[in-house]
Amino acid sequence: MKEELELGSEFDLELERYELFADPIYNFTFNRRQFLRAFSGGIALLVPMSNLVTTSGQQEQGESGRGRMDQRVPNEIGAWIHIDEAGTVSVFTGKVELGQNIRTSLAQAVAEELHVMIESIRMVMADTDLAPFDMGTFGSRSIPFMAPQLRKAAAAARESLVALAAEQMKVAPAEVRIVNARFVNHDASKSLSFADVANGQKLVKTIPADVAITAVKDWTIVGKSVPKVGARDFVTGKHEYTSDLKRPGMLFGRIVRPATLNSSLVSADTKAAEAIRGVTVVRDGDFIGLAATDPQTLTRAERAIAVHWKAPGQPAAAQLFEQLKRESSPSRGGARPAGSITDGMAAADKKLSQTYTVAFIAHAPLEPRAAVAEWNDNKLTVWTGTQRPFGVRSELAEALHIPETSVRVIVPDTGSGYGGKHTGECAVEAARLARATGKPVKLVWTREEEFTWAYFRPAGVIEVSSGVKNDGTVTAWEFHNYNSGASAIQSKYAFPNQNIQFHSSKSPLRQGSYRGLAATANHFAREVHMDELAQLVGIDPVQFRIKNIQDERLKAVLEAAAKSFGWGAKKEAGRGAGIACGFEKGSYIATAAEVSVDPKTKKVKLERVVASFECGAIVNPRHLHNQVEGAVVQAIGGALFEGIDFQNGQIMNSKFSRYRVPRFSDTPPIEIVLLDRKDLPSAGAGETPIVGLAPAVSSAIFEATGQRLRSLPLVPNLS
């Protein structure tokens, strides 16, 4: 895949290497032919795929746009809106709902432009047979790329409907308004429902180039705190996650796994298990899977199996950082040298070189991987919780040697992912069991499996060397990231001389995407280093940063956080404050934290946090607030105590009783300051708010104790 070519650009479209495990497969099978087959009547507005994969998704015009009544269908469709002959509005998109409330935000966008209530919008999401291809739900892309296109499609649909309504009512289109989901003329003497207008139509349009969307100042649904779509089903337990599904005749599956990663099968005695009524044992190479009529029988079968595995010797967490450095490549992208480090160092009054590290951490989504697989004739349907339904469809097709057209993946709204559910392991396993048994099979990974056989946020080593003048000007900035990734490796600071590089390495554990990717690691190293430089030249950390910032939006969030926090106020003994700021994926964050450290027990307590966030025009203040707050809480774990411990192929803390995640008692008062920039396009918000906490807390601990902690998680390193 293309890698890091556009790093640091305003809209960082390039995918971080860890976002995917393989090249994106541009297999846009929801094409013209399929669409026309699926389309029975009514009105459809199509978003061409090209509109969703270009770099400036906001205003980009599709090459297919040709005026108001364009009947052409693009070759590759990225999303579509359908008003069927009964007047039902359906939105078809491959995006996945994982708690980020994109189901709500996208419905808001469509409702706004169609001038209807949000409740009347049916969102058809993440079903590979019904929704057009989508690369996946990650990278904070749904709001900046998908939402504007759906708005345009909805606006164009409205225009078409209004024109048709005008024709039927024999009035001028300009006279027609939509009131309470009805088309009415100027004095409301005539009115038509959506069904009246759509009935008997067979109109397909690609979104035209000149479609006007509602100006931000006129928003009545977007920009408002619309409640979560389907909230009632979540509080009543009615919502069915993948793990809750049942199919007729369904069996329960389980995989027999070795105790050690990278094991290979030596021998297995499965005869006793096979003899149990209702049990099927599936062996295929190193794969041993079980399916049974009920969970009790399954457990009996599992106990009846004797397996012998062998595994190579494998490294331990203790050697991790040394290994990542040793196995690293000279440079892998991200490099955009500017000026001269030598000159910058020569101009400096003081110099500083420090090393920072981040541990592997687990996503630990509360719903572990789950899949229900079912074969009908030669067609495979798999329900599974994944962020990449189409990617998982490819995985299934490849693993089972069947064409992608024979695979349907459906993603029920899922028990979160945080970047951890990009893959389809569980789906493939369930499909293998279902094929062997000829019956639907449900497979739900245990928590231990999720901790051991999924993938981790990459660990990393970051070395920073810098030079600074006594007036606070940073003159040189050399930054090397080993293994953790290149996201946000570039900053919004105006460093005149810089050399910034990412070095890939050989990871001892399987690693992949995690909310914010390496933006967390890179901000941790950069912002702690900035704090150290501020201290070196005796300048207040906020003033020191402002001195080196030219970007007004970054300055604005930093100042907003400092102000709300009461930065610079006197603190009690044993307390300290820290602050950090940053930019990634089109949005800006500044986080200030206050900690107390017990002088005897060294217990660190996060006393309060202020996070200031700006992502352009706000789509849903309530859900944005929730999202930023959640990111701060999740960040507490990675900052203070989360870290995967491993030894010789075993994950030593593969349970919640051994892997500490943030809880109620870890959560301090959090104040969220949202800056609403109605003049700017909306960016995604699911990731960037996570990056500021760890460096702010490290600096706060430094102020409280005088100890500078440069490794995540911080707490175990406090002496």
Binding site: G237, D244, I670
Partner: protein
């Protein structure tokens, strides 16, 4: 080992035929189809599986069904009465106290147990009682707010 032949769930006595050592969670989800109760860890650490047993907060994943066979079990599905949500269910919606919603059933059941024995809990009491329930999306402050709304301690809704 003795089998359990019936279980009282949400006021109804339901026939079932399972080994008494089977976890209550498995019986509820896989045999009786009360899937609102979730699996999260299997070691009583995350609280996603929380139900009420004779009104007491119970982690169903580590509870052998044999121990509760003669007791009254309440799951998330049993809170709604005549189409009316429990006040805490309404408060969760009002406070937007969820993201992915996977922890929500367990959170609500733990919260209901708290409000039963302590109708006006302090913030510290809420945190202490709820601390063994995990939300990976990080909505803890909103859940505290929801419990406060349900207890009448707060009218204000979080943004």
């Amino acid at each position: 080992m003795a089998n359990i032949t019936s279980l009282s769930v949400n006021g109804r006595k339901l026939p079932v035929n399972v080994d008494s050592q089977t976890s209550l969670l498995t019986v509820l989800r896989d045999f009786l189809n009360f899937t609102g109760t979730k699996y999260g860890c299997g070691e009583a650490q995350c609280g996603a599986c929380t139900v009420l047993v004779d009104g007491q907060m119970t982690r169903s994943c580590t509870m052998p069904v044999g121990k509760v066979a003669s007791k009254q079990i309440t799951t998330i599905e049993g809170l709604e009465k005549d189409g009316q949500l429990h006040p805490l269910q309404n408060a969760f919606i009002e406070a937007d106290a969820m993201q992915c919603g996977y922890c929500t059933s367990g959170m609500i059941m733990s919260g209901v147990a708290l409000l039963k024995k302590n109708p006006k809990p302090s913030r510290a009491e809420i945190v202490k009682h709820m601390d063994r329930n995990m939300c990976r999306c990080g909505t803890y402050l909103r859940i505290v707010k929801a419990i406060e709304i349900a207890s009448g301690a707060s009218k204000e809704v979080r943004k």
